[in-house]
Symmetry: C2
Subunit: 180 residues, 2 copies
DNA sequence: CGACGCATGTAATAGGTTACATGATTGA
DNA sequence: TCAATCATGTAACCTATTACATGCGTCG
């Protein structure tokens, strides 16, 4: 997946590794980073496969930058992936279950007493509301920058799911307080 | 994570591997399976760690069953995990981005022409609506069986997020048709 | 002087998927 | 007879995370 995230970024303009990390992947909203251990080997591999090419830019008094651009072969691979449906079938299987630590725990809240369960749900609600603030701020900044509408809509999807999560948590709290 | 899913199942009653796979993980709703390559080694490891113990039940004309129960040490580990907040902080980071093939593609729909984009969104909407049907049916069957309310609510969360996704997709279609 | 930002990378480990391997019974 | 169900497991692989390693410049 990181493969296509990198190719997709390079469709826009050339990037060097640190640039991708800080400008593209990270700046959209806090905590959304990519780790070095995945990024640099991936760039190396894509370069070896001929999907991206690099120019090394030497800088005085600073480390050299390896500036990557997408090749025509890379563009072709990217566009094929973009039009394909790979990985879309099993969407929901992984989406809300098996990866979401809170939701998994929630399946077992029957083993907690009422107070502990309520505390855990309330804590999650606080996390979600903080997340929503961050996402809304990120959206405002994207709107200001005139970023393309699809990307803003993707962020909008994040907001929508977090809102749904908050509503669900509130409803769950109410159910527990009323003894289900 | 699989570790706690297994321990959590064994809190309810003893299970053997195939039983877990078919009754517990799979039957809740279609396509939610666990693969052998993960389950059996995990059971072995948990047994070695003393968190679960097994009794081998020989059957005539059928393979033996390895029936696992949770130990008191396993229960302790499980309850500690249940009360902890491990993995809950970074929830949204992974949830809607980076794992969801359709959403990732959607960020790059600017590179598709309008018809292709609409087709892809419509296809996703069909998938989501099919998923919603499955989830709603699963919920009905859980209600009939009298399964504990927390678990039904978890399924309800799945339904809620898929409904939000469907609404978002419809809204996106409208935006595109109106030229954003 | 120490922390942080810039900039690159490697190594070890963890987690998960796919494919392979076996073998009996049951139903179409 | 062929496929499916029951039942266990291993091996190879891919992906991702954490930690380690280097080194200069700047700001407090």
């Amino acid at each position: 997946m990181i493969k296509y995230l990198i190719l997709g970024s390079l469709m826009e303009r050339p990037f060097h590794g640190y640039d991708l990390k800080s400008n593209f992947f990270k700046k959209i909203f806090k905590d959304f980073g990519i780790n070095d251990g995945q990024l640099y080997p991936a760039l190396k591999k894509l370069n070896q496969e001929g999907l991206i090419e690099k120019v090394i830019e030497h800088q005085e008094g600073a480390p050299s930058r390896h500036i990557y651009s997408i090749t025509s072969q890379g563009e072709e691979i990217f566009m094929n992936w973009l039009l394909s449906y790979d990985g879309e079938e099993s969407s929901f299987r992984y989406e809300f279950f098996r990866k979401d630590a809170f939701i998994i725990r929630c399946s077992y809240f029957q083993y907690l007493d009422k107070t502990d369960a309520i505390n855990k749900i309330q804590h999650q609600l606080d996390v979600v509301e903080k997340t929503l603030e961050d996402l809304n701020m990120a959206k405002q900044s994207m709107l200001k920058k005139g970023i393309n509408p699809y990307r803003i809509n993707v962020l909008g999807y994040g907001i929508k799911t977090q809102e749904a999560r908050a509503e669900w948590l509130k409803d769950l709290l109410m159910q527990i307080e009323n003894g289900f």
